[in-house]
Amino acid sequence: MELKEKLIASFMAFENLVDIDLPVHDVRSEAIKEFESQGFPSKRDEAWKYTSLNSILKHDYSVFPKLENHIDYNDIKKYFIHDIDTYKIVFIDGKYSSHLSETTHDGIDVCLMSSALSKPKYRLIIENYFNKVATKDSLSSLNTAFSQEGAYIHIPKNKLVAKPIQIVHFSTGNEAALMLQPRNLIVVDENSHVQIIERHQSLTDNPVLTNSVTEVFANKRAIVDYYKIQNDNQNASLIDSTFVNQKRESVASVHTFSFGGKLTRNNLNFYQNGERIDSTMKGITIIGNKQHVDHNTLVHHIEPNCESHQDYKGIYGDSSTGVFNGKVLVNREAQKTNAFQANNNILLSDKASINTKPQLEIFADDVKCSHGCTIGQLDDSAMFYLRSRGIPEKEAKALLMFAFSNNVMSSVKIPEIKQRITKIIANKLGVNTGFDL
């Protein structure tokens, strides 16, 4: 059975598992209809021109998480940012793992989507925010239809969350092939500040497909820092859609570090619903083998006096492919917009390829919008400089790559994440640089 049919057929069974009296029931039913009419995207869709899902849709995924699987903390400690104190929301094969997690209801809510959807005390938030910014495209609709579990974070007014929140999804490989559809909702109210780290990790080589949707609401003057670490193994694929709705004077940033996975697609959409908003989206992609990473970004400038910064760096080796599809949309009313978009790429191998499409759509006249895009190689003279000072070729290359990606690293606000990313890159390149960036 095709995956699409299987999912549609499973929907009934899924609905019976969860409470169908909830208001969210209508949202789910609506969404499955949307998915049924659209189907999975194909290369004929402009947004998917360079990314084919065929190779990852052929597996016979089990779409329901079964029982809770146990993992020992020591086996997976390395996947956490463990050297600082954090809140943790951990899922194993899509099921919440209470013994690995550390949630809170003390002034702020860091807990589960499943309880937020069912408990009356969260009803108001769910009604106001759930599925309000996510688009109706096929994969987001599919996620909405099956939305049940994920992280629910609500930070009320005037709170500075003392420690970062980690959201980690593990898959154990106890199923031959597993499809996960986590759904996160993050609401940050006036003047509050939160930092979130998200990671998806499979522990075996069994294929995993994750179709994740995250909705972030940054209300007046809120500050949201979101870090996505994507260093999964070679049979795991991730479709990650993140929608950020910003109110006036809020500051939101999303950093995406893509090193692993078979196919990774990042849909990142920012909507600026207010004045004097600042949005930052940055990414480092370093991949090899037959990996495929696709960054699809949108910044929609709706109101005046806002800024957006995009900076994506990519290094592609072996037979990997990279895609960058960035769009800046400036409405007629959004005067005095400053939008900047950069995409720099390095190709290391003849079999690697890069497709990039940075777009500007501008309807206002008093704006400063620019984009730049380059594709090139490591600088020969810089290589020579390093080699002539006794630095071996591999290390010299690594140094240049670190330098290349430094712009993105410099805006990371948690030093431990910087260290971790540096280590992952060093590991990936097989070098020991002996320094932290």
């Binding site: 079999k351 390829s353 777009q359 500007l360 006249d365 380059t374």
Partner: protein, 481 residues
Amino acid sequence: MKYTEDDLREELKTKEYEYGFYTDIESDTLPIGLSEDVVRAISLKKEEPQWMTDWRVESFRAWQEMIEPEWANVNYVKPDFQAISYYSAPNTKPKLDSLDEVDPELLETFKKLGISLDEQKMLSGVAMDVVIDSVSVATTFKKTLNEKGIIFCSMSDAIKEHPELVKKHLGTVVPQKDNFYAALNSAVFSDGSFCYIPKGVRCPMELSTYFRINQANTGQFERTLVIADEGSYVSYLEGCTAPSRDENQLHAAVVELIAMDDAEIKYSTVQNWFPGNKEGKGGVYNFVTKRGICEKNAKISWTQVETGSAVTWKYPSCILKGDNSVGEFYSIAVTNNHQQADTGTKMIHLGKNTKSTIISKGISAGKSQNSYRGLVQINSRADNARNFSQCDSLLMGNDCGAHTFPYIEVKNKTAIIEHEATTSKIGEDQIFYCNQRGIDTEKAIALIVNGFSKEVLNKLPMEFAIEAQKLLEISLEGSVG
């Protein structure tokens, strides 16, 4: 009174098309509508050989299977292909040796356009192959060109006189089935220009053709083929203005350039078809396929100044097939009132050490939409390919839009690609700077727009640069000159 940007905007809004007039020449027109019989009838009327008829019919059949493309960032009422007459030729068909033989009414038309053949001949040394309503009626300087072995004639003459060249090259760069409008053109093209430069010859003058749409309701389907043999050089100019018509007129031309080893072709266009009135009524649909192929060490350079047409859909492209070949694209696209332009280029790098440059300047005013859409593709065997692209947009007023859709596809690690795009308006600080130095606002705007477009205007041949400036003046009067 102080001249402000608002005044300019007002002027832009009210500026009517100056060159709208209609020459009453008796025409020999086919009944409206399109069918295989009409295609055969066109071929018959033009006394074409059998292979040409077959080629047209084949294209027509392919066209019937195709659907109109909708991906471009433009909105318009689709033309009704059955409501167009596909052939019209002026009844008087003089073979010309001197201007005296030209229909006086035709000469009057040229006068209004400000292109007296006489004057052109005397002053600029440009050979004109004048096309009024699809059939060429005047060819000058043929003798000089003949001496060099250069063939420059209308497409219909080329089919009769040089069938071997036409048969070998026609449709090799833009295949019949390339796209919807190219297929339509291949089926019904009425005429166009043909140019062949023999080995090692440097064409001594700029070759030039004027296209005009004259007959009401006549789609113009031009077909141009330029072949530059090994080591030759040619600079080809194409310019057009069209009279005011209320119905939308369709223009679906195909231009094919072939630059053989070490050859160079410079193709310049000034386009000023009727853009519709200020309510967006009428105007020409300009759906053009232009493409050139470069062999070893060859160079193709496209320069265009696009000021007219209600809807423009045009992507002059270069296929850099040979090693060390070079492709260039310089463009100014000006849109005003309700005009829509979706234009850009494609640079396909196939050979080693190939190089391409793209400079695109878009100026939008009124309620117009101006898009740049370009593709830079580096194939896996194109070692050391180099591309530089720059797309700048200037917005005037708050009802227009500027869009950039660059596609960059790279499959070779030695490629170096740079792309940059900016969007801005004329800055208050820029105007202030000029004012401060005693330059009034009108002159300042002129200065800034001129500076903005200079990189492209400079690439035009002398004879054309003047006309291009004139057109910028008409399109954005008050801001230039």
